[in-house]
């Protein structure tokens, strides 16, 4: 595992998220459907990105869902214009796996993902690895192969952190297997030369485990908001852990900052601004909302 004395690379303070594009709304199914309809056309997604960049956004978080390949391809094709944008991908797209695992069972689902839609060279290298993975029944090799499939979506982009999405992070966190976390971090650092990141809804538990295992220099992204929504086991525990955090070891990123029920965006961001946080990821679908959110974000760190 990589450990150095220098402080870890700083991440972007303001990151533009993607929930709005995929009909993810924690409060209303109707709102979800409305968003899905609007962003069914990729042109509308790209317009929002252009608005965000106009407002001064320099970093983007994007999940490896159905639309990601298409979006990434656009940005690759227009590298001259968008080359400076920093990418914070999160993998995998959970629905894809959940449905397949339900239908096929776990191992057939994994091979379906690994051997579908890859280039010839890729397939051969994967089959090679796959055979040995099956041979040694090695979960970690299998994980590396799945990561390669997911990370391929972002090839050629300026990636800063690779995040493991919370359904996976938290599922494996419960197992408490140090090697899996250690290998994930090592693989991302060595093969992709980027900082490893974890999205979690259990920040205090994850942070304690990483510390216990001696895994440092990672980014942890977690829902953090004044209402305490999606903060487990409690908002109070989060506040304690955030206050005590050393940003040279763990950079902390808040997501869902506005999931605060009835309070104003001003109050919501004031709450975030006063915590020892290094970054915040937020979403919005109009230029006005992006601009006003940016105006309210003023992280202390």
């Amino acid at each position: 595992m990589m450990q150095t004395n220098k402080s870890m690379d700083k991440i972007d303070k303001e990151i533009f998220g993607d929930n709005q594009f995929f009909g993810i709304n924690h409060r209303s199914q109707d709102k979800s459907e409305e968003l899905l309809k609007r962003f069914g056309d990729i042109i509308n997604i790209l317009k929002v990105y252009d608005n965000a960049f106009d407002c001064g956004i320099k970093a983007v978080m994007l999940n490896s869902n159905d639309r990601a390949e298409e979006i990434c391809q656009y940005f690759r094709d227009h590298k001259v214009k968008y080359g400076e944008v920093a990418w914070y991908p999160s993998v995998p797209y959970p629905h894809k796996y959940a449905d397949m695992v339900n239908e096929l069972g776990i191992f057939p689902a994994i091979s379906e993902v690994l051997f579908k839609g890859n280039t010839t060279g890729g397939v051969f290298s994967m089959i090679g690895k796959g055979i040995s993975a099956a041979w040694s029944k090695d979960a970690i090799k299998m994980m590396e192969m799945l990561l390669d499939v997911e990370f391929k979506i972002y090839r050629g982009l300026n990636v800063r952190v690779f995040f493991l999405l919370n359904p996976i992070t938290d599922l494996i966190l419960g197992y408490g297997i140090k090697e899996v976390f250690e290998h994930y971090c090592e693989y991302v650092r060595k093969k992709y030369k980027v900082t490893p990141g974890f999205i979690t809804l259990n920040l205090p538990y994850l942070k304690a485990k990483l510390k216990e295992w001696g895994i440092e220099e990672v980014v942890i992204c977690s829902a953090i908001n004044k209402a305490g929504f999606n903060m487990f086991p409690s908002k109070e525990e989060y506040e304690k852990v955030i206050a005590a955090n050393d940003p040279n070891k763990y950079q902390l990123m808040a997501m869902s900052p506005l999931a605060s029920g009835s309070i104003t965006p001003q109050e919501s961001f004031d709450y975030i601004n006063n915590l020892n946080l290094q970054s915040v990821v937020f979403g919005a679908s109009s230029k006005e909302h992006i601009q006003s959110s940016l105006g309210l974000i003023n992280l202390k760190y």
């Binding site: 239908e103 086991p233 999931a259």
Partner: protein
């Protein structure tokens, strides 16, 4: 204090999730796993050296290494697994649907009650924060006497023609919209309104499946003349996520609830509870829902923690007992037998 020793039987998607959740409970220790796939067990063995692995559940239950087990096998195995567990004095958390035979369900309920062992079925909505908030409103008669309930559960689970393979195409494995989704609704109805007096009528329809139903409609009648319409459709392709909803009509008001929150209509102000007349909307994130560790949903964690705590404290669970699940099983069977399309 001695930790509760837990075994997990069946390491499919639910078993894998249950492991992650319950492994974070400070008062338990996972000692054993059983799964028919040796591939799965071999892979896990490497990373879980302290957990004993079995390809046969009989061996796990005979090992003497468990105080309680989580059963997440196909439903057809629930009866033999639970029966042996009971004979061995082992408490059981069993996934839904409990069994696919009402006489087996009530027999298991008898056995576990007689031995005083903790018994719980994974009807997870009993731990949902919205459900429990409306249960309180109903128990306190905030909307008066209940007259009528509409319950719907819609999803796009099966949205294309189904080849005749996979567990979903077999009713004895818990396949079909009634078992997979309807059982949740019937349990929820029982949780909120008690056991129905009778099934008024039922009709099962196919959309894409060959061997099981995609749509289940049923009418239920409760004591005090309460009636309910149930509509389950797992082939409604307009839903990205499963949508469970309840419309509850009472003499003093109405509740419209889904898993995102609820709306309450009161004809008159309720001064005792501080509730205004007219509509009040409460989104899910405004409802307190303390949960120690999140994997797949707060309810999944809270139901398993409650099971572990119940075993630890030798008390009953707050969840669905085998007895309650056997009533749900009876209703489902009556629905199958009365199917007007049969």
């Amino acid at each position: 204090m001695e930790k509760v020793r837990i075994g997990i039987i069946g390491m499919g998607r639910m078993g894998l999730t249950h492991f992650s959740i319950i492994n974070t409970h400070p008062a338990i220790e996972i000692t054993t796993l059983a799964d028919s796939s040796s591939l799965m067990l071999d892979m896990m063995k490497k990373y879980l050296p302290n957990v004993k692995m079995y390809t046969d559940f009989n061996e796990l239950l005979n090992s003497g290494m468990v105080d309680a087990v989580i059963v997440s096998t196909p439903s057809s195995l629930h009866y033999p697994v639970c029966k042996l567990a009971c004979e061995k004095g082992v408490s059981v958390f069993c996934e839904k649907p409990f069994t696919t035979d009402p006489s087996m369900a009530s027999k298991l309920a008898d056995m576990f009650e007689e031995k005083g062992l903790v018994n719980q079925v994974g009807y997870v909505y009993r731990f949902d924060p919205v459900v429990n908030t409306i249960k309180n409103l109903l128990d306190e008669e905030v909307i008066g006497k209940i007259c009528h309930v509409n319950a719907k559960f819609l999803s796009a689970t099966i949205s294309k023609m189904q080849p005749e393979k996979g567990w979903r195409s077999k009713r004895e494995n818990g396949g079909g919209a009634t078992y997979e989704m309807g059982s949740h609704v019937f349990d929820l109805m029982e949780y909120l309104f008690g056991k129905p007096e009778r099934v008024i009528g039922s009709i099962l329809n196919k959309v894409y499946s060959e061997t099981v139903e995609d749509i289940c409609e049923a009418g239920l009648q409760y004591k005090n003349e309460v009636t309910a319409n149930i509509y389950i459709n797992w082939s409604d392709y307009t839903y990205r996520k499963p949508m469970l909803s309840l419309d509850i009509h009472g003499t003093k008001g109405k509740i419209l609830a889904d898993l995102y929150g609820y709306k309450l209509f009161l004809r008159e102000e309720n001064k005792v509870k501080g509730l205004p007349s007219g509509w009040t909307s409460v989104p899910m994130n405004m409802i307190s829902d303390p949960t120690p560790f999140y994997v797949r949903g707060t309810s999944f964690t809270n139901q398993l923690y409650d099971f572990a705590d119940a075993v630890n404290e030798s008390r009953k669970t707050r969840g669905c007992s085998f007895r309650a699940a056997s009533y749900t099983q009876e209703i489902i069977h009556t629905i199958f037998n009365n199917d007007a399309n049969k």
